[in-house]
Symmetry: C2
Subunit: 96 residues, 2 copies
DNA sequence: TTATTACTTCGATAGTTATAAAACTAATGA
DNA sequence: TCATTAGTTTTATAACTATCGAAGTAATAA
């Protein structure tokens, strides 16, 4: 295994850890299937989770580069970051 | 989300959990890159982990259907289960 | 300024997990 | 039978994580 592969394993396993939590995977599926951005409050209603829990998961997904965040006034709009998936899990979003 | 997708999410998140542990991901990479089966003892040397820890991880991977196990006398030979990857993460092994 | 909205962070808790040593099991061989 | 080999399970521990309520922050509106 090369040095590059070692760090790729680390990045990949962190991405997998982010996706291993069922509610986070649901968030990705929801964002992937949506034709528009979704706010944290909307996600809270869709997943029947408290806003603080959604915020916690959203932070994890954002920090792993799996989602984009656009802030407009107090509202945060979430969307899936297709580039990251394309780079590390090509084809995954299409198979989801 | 349909009922089928719900259970697919659960299976997928369990697969991701299995792959989110760096040593298990290394085991999959090692098996994927090998042209022959690998024993638990060999894996223990390759990953510098105790045999009990390798056995513990091997069990997780086997139970998720990510590896095959072939027993010959006392020895267990591990290999990657390509069908499971093809079904749930098509293209992943090639991109690994 | 005060209130409201939308989200984040803190704090506490309950549950999960990775690790290895020790004990155990099963197969082979002397 | 006894010893060796290969792997599993048990046990204990230390570390991590998901959850939510409460408190905090920042932007807007009255």
């Amino acid at each position: 295994m090369t040095i590059e592969e070692q760090s790729k394993d680390e990045i990949l396993s962190e991405i997998f850890k982010a996706l291993s939590e069922p509610n986070r995977l649901k968030m990705i599926r929801t964002l992937n299937e949506s034709d528009k951005e979704i706010t944290c409050g909307e996600m809270s209603e869709i997943l029947k989770l408290s806003l603080s829990t959604v915020s916690y998961h959203a932070k994890t997904l954002r920090e792993m580069g799996l989602t984009n965040t656009r802030k407009e006034a107090q509202t945060k709009y979430l969307s899936v970051n297709r580039q990251t998936f394309k780079k590390y899990l090509p084809g995954f979003l299409d198979s989801l």
